[in-house]
Symmetry: C2
Subunit: 217 residues, 2 copies
């Protein structure tokens, strides 16, 4: 029976992993239960023994992703107090997790608002907690006189890190440790350095006409 539990969990995990890969490749709505049935070898109706609906399947994947990501971050931050090292831990954890689970992370980034009701609320709560934890780490080393809007700073960092599933290729690009180095330093230097050093003349006005909409009226 404990043995049965074991095989059940294993099979569920296998289904989730396969489904995540398919969702990442084709997108959640574009992928069909029949695709997952074909890829896993489990019959169409057999899948519904492991989840109640397609949306719950997506939820199980996303929830497991965020839970693991959060657990890893909490465990790492727990044993470190230096703000700079905490920041580096955060960046490296985030990037390593992304690279190691790129398919799942693409699903997480792309289909966050595909979940409705309780499913969406649960995952969004975890997303908010993660964002807040990272924001606090950032705040702890914020320079006093910086003119950069803190919200802009947080999402600039997240943008840099989360965008990698659009271009990063583990076989072609630099290893994760250097990636974390580059992105972390790139952000840190920009975030910490004083105003108007190497970028004098930056703020000189440029005229980029508005052109509010691309569709001519």
């Amino acid at each position: 029976m404990v043995e049965a539990r074991r095989t059940y969990d294993d099979k569920l995990a296998r289904i989730l992993r396969t489904a995540a890969a398919i969702f990442a490749e084709k997108g959640y709505h574009e992928a069909s239960i029949r695709d997952i049935s074909r890829a896993t070898g489990v019959s169409l109706s057999g899948l519904y023994y492991y989840f109640g609906s397609k949306e719950e399947l997506l939820f199980l994947i996303q929830d497991h992703c965020f839970t693991t990501l959060l657990e890893n971050l909490d465990r790492l931050l727990e044993q470190e107090t230096d703000p700079l090292r905490r920041f580096r831990l955060m960046v490296e954890n985030h990037l390593r997790f992304f690279v190691n689970n790129m398919k799942e992370m693409k699903v997480l980034s792309h289909e966050l608002d595909s979940l409705t009701g309780d499913f969406g609320q649960t995952v969004n709560a975890k997303k908010r907690r993660y964002t807040e934890t990272c924001g606090a780490v950032l705040q702890a080393l914020a320079p006093a006189g910086t003119a950069i809007d803190p919200r802009v700073a947080v999402f600039a960092l997240f943008g840099m890190m989360n965008w990698i599933y659009n271009w990063y290729n583990p076989e072609r690009d630099v290893p994760v440790s250097k990636l974390a180095d580059d992105l972390g330093q790139l952000f840190l230097r920009g975030y910490l350095s004083g105003v108007g050093d190497a970028t004098a003349g930056w703020s000189s006005p440029v005229s980029v006409e508005p052109s509010p909409s691309i569709w001519r009226t």
Copy 2:
């Protein structure tokens, strides 16, 4: 007849704008032609007078987006030689365009690989040309001894800028000009500043265990 042309183009533009908003809100595959019919007031089959297929509709939106974005950038860069000011023009053009056409840009970012065949090739060619133009602008002010991988730098900047459709709210957040200031300076300072100034001790090793996959084997 010139009058007829006028109403035809106007109606097409109206359909494209409405469709872009629906695609942005529900996603391309999730949105149905019937949704667009309902929103535009044009009958289901009437829409097919203006485009040959749902995929061509997506193509028309994406192609028009990229074309306008590219034209704007080319026109701006044409009359400026200073590398720093060229960089600023690029950033401001990109961000302003994104903010002014956030719905369309979300479609562009999300559904770039939803196009197949010639549609996909055409749009991807424009994407590549845009990336190359921006990469060249960046290269022109690259510091000689930087240790940051150039590919990482380019996509870090793109990530920062493209991510905004996930969080930027024109009514709540800073105006576009300050957004361009913040992101541009954040990147520039990090990109231009020398090694190991305010970030001493950054490279001290941290142990983030690999944990290659989130699914236990």
